[in-house]
Amino acid sequence: MDPTTARLRYHGTGGSLFGLMFVNALLTVITLTIYSAWAKTKVRVFHWSHTELDGDRFAYHGTGGELFGGYIKAGVVMIILAFIFGRLNEAIIGESASVGAQIATTVGFYVVFFLLVAFAINSARRYRLRRTSWRGIRFSFHGEATEFVSLMIRGTLLTIVTLGFYGPYFANQTRAFFVEHARFGSEPFMYDGRPEPLFKEYVKALLLTIPTLGLYWAWYAAFKNRHFWNHTAMRGARFQSTITGGALLGLHVTNLLLVICTFGIATPWAIVRMHSFWCDNLSLVGTVDWATIQQRAGDAQAVGEGLADTLDVDVDFGM
């Protein structure tokens, strides 16, 4: 059989997204922000159901109630932590204690914060993929929090020690972790990207930063995107990204102008343009016998999601 290409397409329009976001904003205000969990879920449902792969739309099954419960739990965790560190701080100041104790508390705070962020990223991914389906089959994510946290600690420390040069290796490892622990039904995704090409491009971008006034980083971002997707496979089919640096830069510049010139009113249109851009540049090449891909049981909690939001972590869906 010849390899076939399954295209991604985005069907959302700026007008409908604007209506959705406008009503969301009003309801969020009226309900004193309580509605925001439902608002966020509605926007996600919108994006998923307007994204098409090989003729079929994705579906998002998360609910606002779940997300709200996640916010509440995350809020409780944050309050407890704030209380503990507040007390610790008071105790230290009260004793006019040693500089060592003060540093220990500060470092302790950042370490706990870092661990929470790592945990949140991992659980948010679990939640989101578990609540995504295509052709009736759920995605899932099986990354263990402990494994991801140790990956994050090692990667961050090595990146700091090597003055950033470990960064591309770290990014490649993170991507491998995300892809290899993701599944579509019974079917795992595979990643075979090597870090070396990414490192070479990173060094090139560093060298070209000054001559290109930093604009070359758009080409690095495009390279990274192609590298990540072109090495992501599932049952013999492989993703293919055709993003170029010039197109990416053009998109960001025009979107920025669009948003600024309309005082933010055109934000939904900018979002739609971005989603269309990602989808237009991504496809799945190869033949997959979809009938052999089975549904898997399992569930995920919305706590990580709430935590990620409270900590203001931007967890991208990887599209």
């Binding site: 009003l26 205000v29 159901s49 739309r57 579906a59």
Partner: protein, 361 residues
Amino acid sequence: MTPRRWEWSGFYYDGRTAARQSVTLTLEGNRLHIRRPDGTSMLWPLSLVRQTQGGYSTEQVRLEFGSDPAEALLVNDPTFVAEIRAASPVARRAVRRQWRPAHIVALSVVALMIVVALYVWGAPAGAVWAADRLPKSWEVSMGEGFVEHLKQYDRVCADADTVPELQTIVTRLTDAGPGEEYRFHVIVVRDSAINAFAAPGGYVFLFTGLINAAETPEELAGVLAHEIQHVTLRHSTRALLREVPLRFALFSVTGSGETAMTTVASLGALTFRRSDETEADREGMRLLETARVDQSGMISFMRTLEAEHGDGPRFVRYLSSHPRTADRIAELERLASESRHETQPLLERGAWRRLHGLCGD
């Protein structure tokens, strides 16, 4: 009457594998009849069918049935929604009408009107209700917030307690005032603007620009009486509470870190209503009368303000939140003509001159 039979095409997913099956749909009573190409078929009672997509015309209509794993049906047929909804009340409940831009716009307008109505009528009414029930200690701590805020910017230069000349005027007014409801603190702020304002809980702020613009102690007393009445009548507390919903709304939309309290504590936050100003004018005149202070001071100071109104933008600030000065003067004159009270001078000339040089201005 037998229901009409329509036929639509769609895709069916059994929820166990990712295989796509082309199917034909028909409606049989209140059940959806799904026929596969191999001749097998299923019946979905419409009352158990959930619609999860298809609210927008750019979406496919997606119907789900059962759970874990849910079976799904995707219908691309653009006529499906309108036709099945026309078939029966059960179908109308199962399948939603698609949103049209007009619906979204209409809903947005209604939602916006509710928000505006809540803010325009709800917030002031709520503020009046809450201000009358707020414990005095809360009002006092709100007022203290203003003092702290000004101290941060090194703007507070004196407290009336430490300026005997000023304290004389304040005591004359508060002794004649409506009892021990509030303990008044008059605080002098170093600023050349002709301005004064009242914070909740008895804190009155006098700008040095206003002290210097006053020609007699009676003029200053007029302004003070007006501000004291703003506090006593809880106008300041109401104005502050009126701000709360808007601040909260801004906060929830922008999510910015600036807390509601620091914004409210800024000087520009307090705007009184016209009726509040008129009331404070009237009650201020009454307070002057009881305190045996010459009421003409209040009127002449208003004249000074009116005359200098066009002089520069710094006067506009004091005047902007107030009713038209000419109207106020007319009303004040009417009130003054009604009262026949004895007056006692406030300060001797030397003391008044010392007050003018306060804070080195």
